[in-house]
Subunit: 262 residues, 2 copies
Amino acid sequence: MAEVSVLQYELVYNAFSFAIATMGAATLFFWLGRSQVSDRYKTAITITGLVTAIALYHYVRILQSWDASYDVVNGQIAVTGIAFNHAYRYVDWLLTVPLLLVELILVMGLSRSETWSKGVRLGLLAAIMVVLGYPGEISGDPTTRWVWWALAMIPFAWIVYELFVGLGEAIAKQPADVRGLVDTARWLTVISWSFYPVVFVFPMIGLTGGTAATAVEIGYTVADIVAKAVFGVVIYTIAVRKSAAEHGTVVATRTGVPTPAL
Amino acid sequence: MAEVSVLQYELVYNAFSFAIATMGAATLFFWLGRSQVSDRYKTAITITGLVTAIALYHYVRILQSWDASYDVVNGQIAVTGIAFNHAYRYVDWLLTVPLLLVELILVMGLSRSETWSKGVRLGLLAAIMVVLGYPGEISGDPTTRWVWWALAMIPFAWIVYELFVGLGEAIAKQPADVRGLVDTARWLTVISWSFYPVVFVFPMIGLTGGTAATAVEIGYTVADIVAKAVFGVVIYTIAVRKSAAEHGTVVATRTGVPTPAL
């Protein structure tokens, strides 16, 4: 275990607690709001909430594992000898990263065959990317880490290509008032996901010890919140707007309010 | 840790338990009542309940942390050496304070562009205010505390200005039977939020020890209940009245009850 200071221990502890509150709140927001989108987009919102619910479960476990790794009494910190379980993050990503791409595909409302082909291809690429990262994560040898890092970057590059080239035509066909949001969702994915391979490289370029461990844990936590909860709010807003547009006249006649607030 | 008496320890413990009960009850009230407001206001009520749900989570943790900090056996109190985690309050505020302003904006039913611009501006100002308060909170040095206090007061003053000047026109356009309530919501925000910078100053003006620690914890708890649960009831009442007014004739014809009970 890295020797962290009391302040670093508490900072990471509070970041994990923040993630628990955020993922829990996001899950409730998505599932309560599910009734506000049309049937066509309900599955996308169900999955958006599943992603944050799975992350909630893992952050509860991650916090417990962090708490078990250190004892803080009278302002002194001691390593307990119980190892912090890094695998929770990879188990989480193996489930949630493919689902994040599936929610993006679903909210785009493509044809049934396109939804299946793009969903399966992107989902598999994401799962392979996470699986290839793990052998590097648990290795202390820089060369081994670089090899697996490079291998995991192949499916990552392919996903970025699919998002910008493969989905380009489908995005151009989105209704005008959500096209910008779909583009935002795509960029949020690429930018927040780029954070992970950068953090992975920290120990290989000599960043070790308590400060590096603190930066890694807080960095991954912030990236998870952006990639799952913030991304989810964008997906939810797209679904609300498209639902309103598709039911346009009905909603307008009944309530006199043609556009939703979001 | 402050040396509190057994009575003070129990008073604070019971105040935290009261907050757990209040926040839990408020959350259930808002989410059960969500079906009684029209689609246009459902997101506002979802968020109103999220704020109290997030506070519920943090008060459970705050009570656990308080409990772990002291041992009371045979009428004697002893400090355990485990520090009380003050950060839970800031982590809570970082999430809930922006959301409180967002629920006020959403229930006003502004245009989509105004909702976004005012929601983002007020939400960011609120988050910056909380972040600027934290370095002062964890410092024992009065000068450092005053500097961060003064910095956090800048976004606070800006929020008050936005609520009274920026939203003035929008409030004047609210339907007559909710205009007073929207004004109440605005005043509740300013008055309950003013409590926090006052409590923050306690240790800087010589109020320390068990009595001051007790006053701070109970003060923050009462302010949280007013700012989140009581404020939420006002928001909920506005949403119910506006929903009834917008469906006016339909409700009147079908049920013979043209006005809601609230």
